[in-house]
């Protein structure tokens, strides 16, 4: 009888460790990082090994799992440019060129270590399936695989703070697990309306030795937009959404 109780107790104690639903955890991380639909203001800074910097300020709107659009507010040379992402489709609108051109997720409209997929990022759970969840100290470590070949990184390894359910580090990997870049999530800040998340994302890459890019969030606010805002025809009018 005692043996049976011990076995049952062992199962009950052990159960939480195995019961972590990786997909649910990733979805929760997505929601903790941002509401499903929101507007935000960000600054991207590319930092060279000698300390020289180049900065870009962006206004971004997102709706649902697959619609993101951004407008460049600064510097003057980029002002008025806008980018749009609908699922795997991405476009760049340059006022002088006057029409949206298709761009790819691996390109970067700002140069530096962040590529277009990083700048116009969707929910992680929309693009990746969780393969494995491990525990390491205060973190869960989630191994995720891209759902389709069109996703920028084949694999992600995500360190998640157990208590806050927020990422602390993400390694972006190739199919063969070669490291492409690492994202570091820092400086948790209360943005209001229940949004408490890292306000700084730093990234470095073995492919860009000595270079660093930083994304600073200044404002994130829940907001609903009509679907028509996320269309090519609307790209020249992004400023009117501010």
């Amino acid at each position: 009888m005692l043996k049976i109780i011990v076995v049952i107790l062992t199962f009950i104690i052990a159960l939480p460790a195995y019961a972590i639903d990786g997909t649910a955890l990733l979805k929760q991380v997505d929601r903790n990082l941002s509401p499903e639909s929101y507007e935000s203001y960000r600054k991207l800074i590319n930092i060279e090994p000698d300390g020289r910097k180049k900065e870009f300020t962006l206004f971004t709107v997102k709706k649902g799992v697959d619609k993101v659009a951004s407008l460049f507010l600064a510097p003057a040379s980029e002002k008025g440019r806008s980018t749009l992402r609908l699922g795997d489709n991405m476009w760049l609108y340059i006022p002088n060129v006057g029409k949206p051109i298709r761009i790819t997720s691996l390109q970067s409209v700002v140069g530096g270590v962040f590529n277009n997929a990083d700048i116009l990022s969707l929910d992680y759970a929309a693009e990746y399936s969780v393969e494995k969840v491990e525990e390491q100290g205060n973190d869960y470590i989630l191994s995720a695989k891209a759902k389709t070949k069109t996703v920028a990184y084949d694999r992600l390894k995500i360190w998640i703070d157990k208590s806050k359910k927020l990422p602390t580090k993400i390694e972006c990997l190739t199919e063969a697990s070669m490291l492409i870049k690492t994202l570091y999530f820092k400086d948790i800040k209360d943005f209001g309306d229940g949004i408490v998340r890292p306000s700084i994302i730093e990234t470095d890459s073995p492919l860009y030795k000595g270079y660093k890019s930083v994304m600073i969030f200044a404002k994130i606010k829940k907001k609903e937009y009509k679907d028509e805002v996320f269309t090519l025809t609307f790209m020249p009018n992004m400023e009117s959404m501010r």
């Binding site: 507010l73 040379s77 051109i101 790819t104 069109t150 269309t231 025809t233 609307f234």
Partner: protein, 455 residues
């Protein structure tokens, strides 16, 4: 080589000794002006900040750029188009041109309305003297009663089509310069309305753009036949992750024409695009080697196919094939060049200019277009940060005439390391046999430096 070096030195440092001394005196002042710009980008702040003032929305916006662009042309004295332009001048083997431009743009928003104006002032000093011109490239009022509807009235560029170097379906736009396709262009005065609708499912977006383009004595009079009201419409679909446009133009200033274009990402680093234009009753004016003029009317069918490919090493390839059915055949171009040569010989022997004047009247917007013939291949390879030099982009572009095998080759270097300052050094070399498209253009080569500061 020394000779080319001296030419370049004279080109980029054209000042004589006294002026150079004045320059040297001015250097400290230049340093004082430029130093803060350099230092601000060199000093690394430990903390990252984004001030509220940086993201505050203002109801107005003012911006633009100032540009300096000296150009050196290496003339081809045996070329037909050289003879046509320089038959009564002696300019040596090189000519120099100093260009300055000031582009101003401003907008004002109030409620659902927005006023937008973009002007361009261009100054040029060349062998012909000095000239300056200011044009309003765009100036229109937008009303946006909802996110689904927008109405614009005024001067506007529409920029239809998916091609990078050419757009056969851009029925309402002034032609692009394939040597510099990203230059902003002047629009036409139009009244346009955009209606957008989004859906779930394979058809994600539908939009309809309708445009009225009046052509009268003082309105859009360079577009085509005057005293006509023209209409154009564009249906856009994002269907199965593919952009598709269906286009119609009719009205009488030009013959009715239909267009279709598409664009699609095949993989994360490969995009394909294409355009097809059908022009009803297109009239082509040609001239034979004796100077007799001909007109031929036919339905022209032009198309373009292209790809944009990004390699793992961050090199972008743009390849486009353009079949221009409104263009000239090799025999038609040969006749034109032959007529110029005959006219030039006639000028040398008797001083007669009538044949050359006749040829000149057919050059602008016709035989003298950057790519006037029927079959072209465009290739551009641009490498971001070659040899790990950040903010540098090296590119090489070639436009090849597939019929007569003549071509242009233009290497360029672009540096964008300083915020809002863009420096571009570009050369264009032309090659081709006599009587070929690029072989008969007035230059053998062109070198230009462009410094553009955005504000």
């Amino acid at each position: 080589m020394d000779c080319l070096f001296l030419k370049l030195k004279r080109f980029f440092f054209p000042l004589h000794a006294t002026m150079q001394r004045e320059w040297m005196r001015g250097l400290p002042l230049i340093f004082i002006l430029v130093a803060p710009l350099l230092l601000s980008s060199i000093i690394s702040a430990e903390e990252y900040t984004l001030d509220a003032s940086e993201i505050e929305k203002k109801p107005y916006h003012l911006g633009g750029y100032a540009e300096l662009r000296p150009v050196m042309f290496g003339l081809d004295k045996d070329a037909a188009l050289y003879k046509l332009k320089f038959y009564n001048r002696r300019e040596g083997n090189n000519i120099y041109e100093y260009n300055g431009a000031l582009q101003l743009e401003g907008s004002l928003e109030y409620g659902i309305s927005r006023l937008y104006v973009r002007t361009n002032t261009a100054y040029r000093k060349s062998y012909l003297g000095e000239d300056q011109q200011t044009i309003i490239q765009e100036g229109y009022l937008s009303l946006k009663p909802s996110s689904s509807l927008k109405i614009d009235a005024g001067k506007k560029t529409l920029n239809w089509g998916k091609g990078y170097a050419w757009n056969p379906v851009a029925f309402l736009d002034r032609p692009k310069d394939p040597d510099d396709p990203e230059l902003s262009r002047e629009g036409y005065i139009v009244l346009s309305a955009d209606y957008i609708k989004s859906f779930q499912g394979p058809l994600k977006t539908f939009s309809f753009t309708s445009v009225l383009l009046p052509v009268y004595e003082h309105v859009n009079n360079t577009f085509g036949t005057i005293d006509r009201m023209n209409f154009a419409g564009k249906l856009y679909f994002l269907l199965y992750d593919t952009d598709i446009d269906l286009i119609l133009f009719t009205g009488g200033s030009k013959t009715t024409r239909y267009g279709m274009d598409f664009s699609r990402n095949i993989t994360t680093n490969l995009e394909i695009h294409g355009e097809f234009a059908w022009i009803n009753n297109f009239t082509k004016n040609t001239i034979d080697s004796a100077g007799n003029m001909f007109q031929r009317t036919y339905d022209a069918k032009s198309y373009l196919l292209g790809i944009r490919y990004l390699t793992e090493k961050d090199a972008t390839y743009i390849i486009e094939y353009y079949r221009n059915d409104t263009g000239f055949a090799a025999s038609e171009m040969r006749d034109f060049f032959s007529f110029i040569n005959t006219g030039y010989n006639s000028f040398l022997s008797s001083g007669q200019t009538a044949p050359l004047n006749k040829a000149a009247s057919l050059t602008d917007g016709n035989y003298g277009k950057p790519t006037p013939m029927k079959d072209y291949l465009y290739l551009r390879i641009s490498q971001k940060e070659p040899f790990d030099i950040v903010y540098f982009t090296a590119a090489i572009t070639s436009i090849a005439n597939m019929i007569d095998r003549s071509f242009s080759l233009s290497p360029e270097l672009l540096y964008t390391g300083y915020t809002n300052l863009e420096l571009r050094l570009k050369a264009i070399f032309l090659a081709g046999k006599r009587n070929s498209d690029f072989g008969e253009k007035q230059n053998n080569y062109r070198v230009e430096l462009r410094a553009r500061y955005y504000y």
